[in-house]
Structures are given as C-alpha cells and as structure tokens.
Amino acid sequence: MRKYIDYMKIGIKEHMVYSSSIWATFLSKIVYLYMQFALWNALFASNAEKNLALNHEETIRYIIVATVLSTIMECNVIGWINSEIQTGNIANQLIRPMDFRTMIFSKHFGTTLIKTVLYCIPLCVVTGVAFHKPIVCDGQLGFGFVSIILAFIIQFLYSLIIGLMAFWLIVTWPLNMLLAAIYKLLSGSWIPVAMFPDLLGKINAFLPFRAIYSIPVTIITTPMSQENILRNLIVQIVWIVILYIVMTVTWRIGKKKLIVQGG
Amino acid sequence: MSIEVEKLSKVYKLKKSQKKVAVDDISFTIPSGEIIGFIGPNGAGKSTTIKMLTGILVPDGGTISIDGMNFKKNRKQIMYKIGVVFGQKSVLCWDIPVLDTLKLFKDMYKVSDSVYEENMRLFRDVLGIDEFINQPPRLLSLGQRMKADLAASLIYNPDILFLDEPTIGIDVLSKERIRDFIQKINRERHTTIILTTHDVSDIETLCEKMIIIDKGSLIYDGTLGDLKDKYKTTDLEEIIKNIYRNGEMKYA
C-alpha cells in the first residue's frame, strides 16, 4: 500500500518540477475564464428575452464552475504512457512489483491533489471575490462533490483506455488530438450541453463525455430536484462500470500485444 | 587559410554577479594546410574556443583573424570557407535522404556543377557514400552518418574544416576509413583541419601539431614530436594525462 502512496507523492513532485510556470498556468485559466465571461455576457445582452435552456445567470455560473473544474479534471495519463512507450521505459514500469494501472492512478491522484491546491482553490477564491453574485447552489454542493469524484474516475478510466491502446498502436497522439477536440465540445467544458441543438444533444446522451463536466457542473450551479440529481449520479455510475469493463479488456489485450520500441 | 588568434578571452556571466573565465588570453596561430589536434580536459574552454573560431560565440576580448578577415566585417565570406562537423549533432536534415542535403548545400554554398561532381566522385570512391546516399540520416549507422556529415561539410571545398569528436562511438573499421579520408583531403586540397577529440589514437594518426588547453589557458602549442621529447616518452596518452593531472593539482 505504501508504494502507492509513494507514487502519489511522485505525482505531486513531478508536477512541481515539470510545471515550468505555475503562475502562467494559473494566469491562462483566468485569461480563458474572462473571455468566456465576456462572450456569454455579450451574447445575452445582445439578444433580449430568448427562452433558452439556461438563463444568463445560470450560464455564467456554469462557465465559471466549468473552468474552475478544468484545473483538476485534466488528465495527462495518455501523454505519459505514450512517452514511456516511445522511450522503451514502459518495460521498466511493467516489471515492477505493483499493478501498473493502480500505479498510474496513484500518480494521477497525487497530481490532481497538488493541482487542487495550486490552481483550483486559488481560482475559487479569485472568482468568489471577483464575482459578487452567488455561484453555487448551496444545497446541492454536497451532491456536487460526489459528482466531481465520480467524474474524476470517469475521466481517468477514459484516459487510461486511450493510453493503453498505445500498447499496440504505439503512437496515439493524433487520436488524442482528435478525441480531445470532440471531448472539449461534448463534455460541456466549453459550451453548456443544455444549449446543444436537439440532434447533437441526443447523440451526446450516449457518450461518456458529458458525465465528466456537464453533470457535476450542472449539479453545482443549476437548481434541480433531488430526483434529477440522483438520476444524473446514476448515469455517472453506469459509465464508470462500462468504462471499467472496457478498460479491463483493453488492459488484457494490450499486455499481450505490447511491442516495445528499441532505442 | 591561416587562423590567427590574439589574446582571445571569454567570460561567462553567471547568476549573482559571479563570473566564470572560460578562455583566458589565448594566442596561437594555425598555419594553412595543417592538421592540428585541439585537446583539453572537459570544461577546459576547448568548445568555447571552437565556438568562437566558428563564429557561434562572440569573444569578450582579443581578435580572431581568418585569412585576414574577421567575423565582424566579413562573416558571410568566412562562412563560405569553413566547414563544421559535430560528432554528436548532425548537420544533415534528419528525415530526408542524404543526397538531398548535399544538393541543398550545393545551392546554399553556390557550388559549381563541376566541383560538385568531382567531390561526389571522391565521396563515392573513398567514403563509399553510394551505399547510403539515398537514405535519411535517421536510418544510418553512426559510421555512415559521420561519413555523410563529412561529405556535406566538404561538398563546397571549405578551406578550413573543424571536426569535433568525429570518431566518437564509431567502429574501428569506419574509424580508419574516416581518418584516411581526412588525411587525403588535407594532402590533396591543403584543407586546414582542426580536430577536437578525446581519442588519443586519432591524434597520433592524424595530427602533426597539437594545442592543449586547460582551465582557459594555453598549455602547449607545438608538434607532437617536441611534446614527446619534452616529456621523454612516446606514450602520448600518458603525457596528456599528466598534463591534465597537473592542471587539477594547481587548483586543488
């Protein structure tokens, strides 16, 4: 057990060392947040009284929380596995006396912890101070945190699956790039899912992406009935189960097909 | 094409107003057409000096005169006349066939067709370049890559060739071929060759003269023969080790 905690610490330290500028990362979130803020304010200001899925207030709250959440949801597991395979270092990782996947999870957990401290909490403070109206739905915050944890697991499983596919695809970065773009849109991290046109919304319901951003963010910022909240949480749990199964299958196939690139 | 170096110095400014004197008032002359070994322990100021001689770094003091020209006024002209081969970094375009890099250099250095053909013939005969000329460097063995680098740096007939660790990591047969090639170029074209290396057998085989640098200062500038006489031994490796040891002791 201790070795996993060690890996968690490694995840923390690596982020401190390799993150060339913590300030710049933090600043880039603020730059992004301001743009979204200005954009949606202008959109609502220019178009009076439209009946949309989310009103002005709700939309602003949504994008603030979505941006804050993005500081901890980002998962670099795919990149890490890819580089380990490229350098051949993957062999070293696999002969260690511990479960490869749990090891990656521990590292990712550590990285997420430090990101929470370095970016998420300060950003919460900054937005709380800068934005005078309430951002979160107090009564739903508890469920919100549960939802975030579930989303975190879904994000990890999804990333791990893609990363493991590198075991036989070797180079997955074009795939990552492709998926990252689709993910950005469909997860609701950029535009609230509720605002999607019908067809897109229907297709999106069958994909796991919205369970990572849209569900937790909506629970935190939009008043919903308890029934609705629970339904959403169950959707997340279902995706965790599905992805866990896919991940296990991918792992089994991947281990057999592992082609280690020579130096 | 001689190289005259007068009171050359280079000081690196480190953080917290600390200074590191990398090259301290060095003067030497390299006459035209010679093969000179340029050696010194790691961190001695060798590479700094070479970088100044090839126009990469600007000296803090002193002058460098290459065939009467200096980098400030005649940089471009000098560049047409020098070739540089770094053992560890290839001058070739990595993903494209070697032949294409050669053609590119032909254009860049304005090489005439006849000179180009003549050189290609030479490379074919002596380096066996045909074997790998259509492959990109990333697919070549280290020995082949070094030969390709040499070809690229000589295709425009430079008057001076700087070779930095040209035989590092290369198998013994390729080493011999490369050395033979270097000697041939020097003999037939009187190309001045400055060879930086840690390989003592390279020096023994190729160099008539040596310049030894340690701790930014010139330790020795003369022929191999004189050096061996001075130390009363023909074991060049022992001599060099002694010199390096003395350097360490002085500052211990």
């Binding site: 710049a24 730059v31 200005a38 178009n47 074009p174 849109l185 | 126009g55 600007v58 471009k76 494209i96």
Partner: protein, 267 residues
C-alpha cells in the same frame, strides 16, 4: 533568385521526408481537420442559441475571424514551426549549427520546412470564409478589394512578427512555452479573444489587443470598417499597414538583439 531555388528544394525535400511516414501524415491532417471542425461546430452551437453579438450577426463574426485565420494560417506555414522549436534547438545546441551557415539562421529555419499541418485550418477557413461572405452583402468594388487585400497582407506580417517575437524569447529563457501559449494559443490564449468583436471586452483588454499585441488589427478593425460598423476611433480601420510595419521592425530588431545575446552568452 538563389533563395527561391533553395526554398523550392527545401520544401520538396521536406515533404518527401514527411511522406515517407505517409500514414502518420494523413492521420495528422485528419486530426487537425477534426479539431478545427469542432471549433466551427462549437461556434455554430453557440449561434444556434443566439442571433447576434454586440451588433454583429453570426455571419459577420464568422467572416471576421476567418479573415484573420486565413492570414494566420499562411503565416504559420513559414514561421510557426521554427519559433516553436527554438527552445529545443537552443537546449540541445543544434541552433549552433544554424549559425555556421552563410545564410541567416532565421532564413535557414524558415526555408527548411513547411508546416503543412496548417492546411486543414486554411481549407476550413476558406470554406467558412466563402460561406459567410456569401451571406453578407459586401460591395466588392476595387476600393474595398484593395483595402481588404492590404489588410490581409498586414495581418500576415503582424502574425509573423508576433510569432518571431515569441521564438526570440527562447534566447533568454528556455522554458517559455507557457507564457507563449498564453499569448498565442488558439483556444485558451489571448489570440482566441479576437475571434469575436473586441467591443465585448473591457477597455483594458481592448487596449492590450490594440496596442500591446495588436491582434485587433488582423481581423476586427478592417472587417468592421468594411461592414460599416461604427468604430470609436474610425482611423483605426486604416492603421493595419502601419502597425504591421512597426511590428515587423520590432520583431526584426528583437530577433537580432536575441542573436547578439546568444553570441555573447552562449546557452
């Protein structure tokens, strides 16, 4: 001219090398296409919900930022890759090799590659540019065509200058990726701001986009003028070429200052 002959050589050679990896190349282009396509899809999702923004219709905004993206794509063909690689080139010492050639290192780097990965961006920009232009009723008289063309050219120069600027920073600090990304990233940085009319931002931000990193002149001002939008400073519509000139001179001086610094301090 010798340079053009060299460039032709370089590009053909470069693409030959890339085509050796043809599977990866195709995949790269597809990935880029989808990535850019998703951005346009997102844009359309936003405007599925709204009709206009700050007095600009969906098509006007589209026309504005595709104008800017066209110039940007062209600029990136030549300058994006060398400047992005500067950090690594200096770290590894490979940059030294570029200094020993009889042509300037910048010229060498620009000539030796062609960033074909921007082709999807260019193609999609052209498609949406034509699409939006079709929906707008712009009078393409000779004066407007000339005005628009000069501004496109200015935008190309401005983008190139900014790119060179970001690469030059590597002469001093080798780990500059994040700061550079802040300024130039297409999805998260300052550049993203100019995909929409700058009047939606605070005065402070507008000042940055006008006077500090003049993205506003690459799309907003010229197109606003062309579409007959009211500007607080109407003269800005005509300033792009001047800004381009200043930016070009600035980038040139800064680059050479960086080179001199590298020549005296090494890496």
């Amino acid at each position: 001219m010798n340079l053009i002959k060299m460039y032709k050589h370089f590009v053909v050679i470069y693409m030959k090398g890339k085509l050796a990896y043809h599977f990866a190349l195709v995949f790269e282009l597809i990935a880029n296409t989808i990535q850019i396509g998703v951005y346009f899809a997102g844009f359309m999702v936003i405007f599925h919900n709204f009709e206009s923004i700050a007095g600009w219709s969906e098509y006007e905004v589209l026309f504005m930022f595709t104008t800017s993206w066209l110039a940007y794509s062209f600029s990136c063909f030549f300058f994006w890759s060398p400047m992005k690689d500067m950090g690594e080139l200096i770290r590894s010492g490979k940059f030294d090799l570029y200094l020993t050639r009889p042509i300037s290192p910048l010229m060498y780097m620009v000539l030796s590659q062609f960033q074909y990965t921007f082709i999807p961006r260019l193609v999609l920009s052209i498609i949406f540019w034509a699409y939006s232009m079709n929906k707008l009723s712009i009078d393409w008289n000779p004066r407007n065509i000339a005005f628009y063309s000069i501004n496109m050219l200015s935008a190309f120069v401005i983008f190139s200058a900014i790119t060179i600027f970001t690469g030059t920073i590597s002469f001093w600090t080798v780990k500059s990726e994040e700061i550079v990304s802040l300024l130039t990233n297409n999805n998260h940085g300052l550049k993203n701001y100019t995909d929409y009319p700058i009047t939606i931002y605070s005065k402070g931000v507008q000042f940055i986009l006008i006077a500090i990193i003049p993205y506003a002149f690459t799309g907003y001002y010229p197109v606003a003028s062309l579409l007959g939008k009211e500007l607080t400073f109407p003269i800005f519509a005509f300033l792009s070429p001047i800004i381009a000139l200043i930016a070009a001179v600035g980038a040139y001086l800064f680059w050479h200052y960086g080179l001199r610094h590298y020549g005296s301090a090494g890496s």
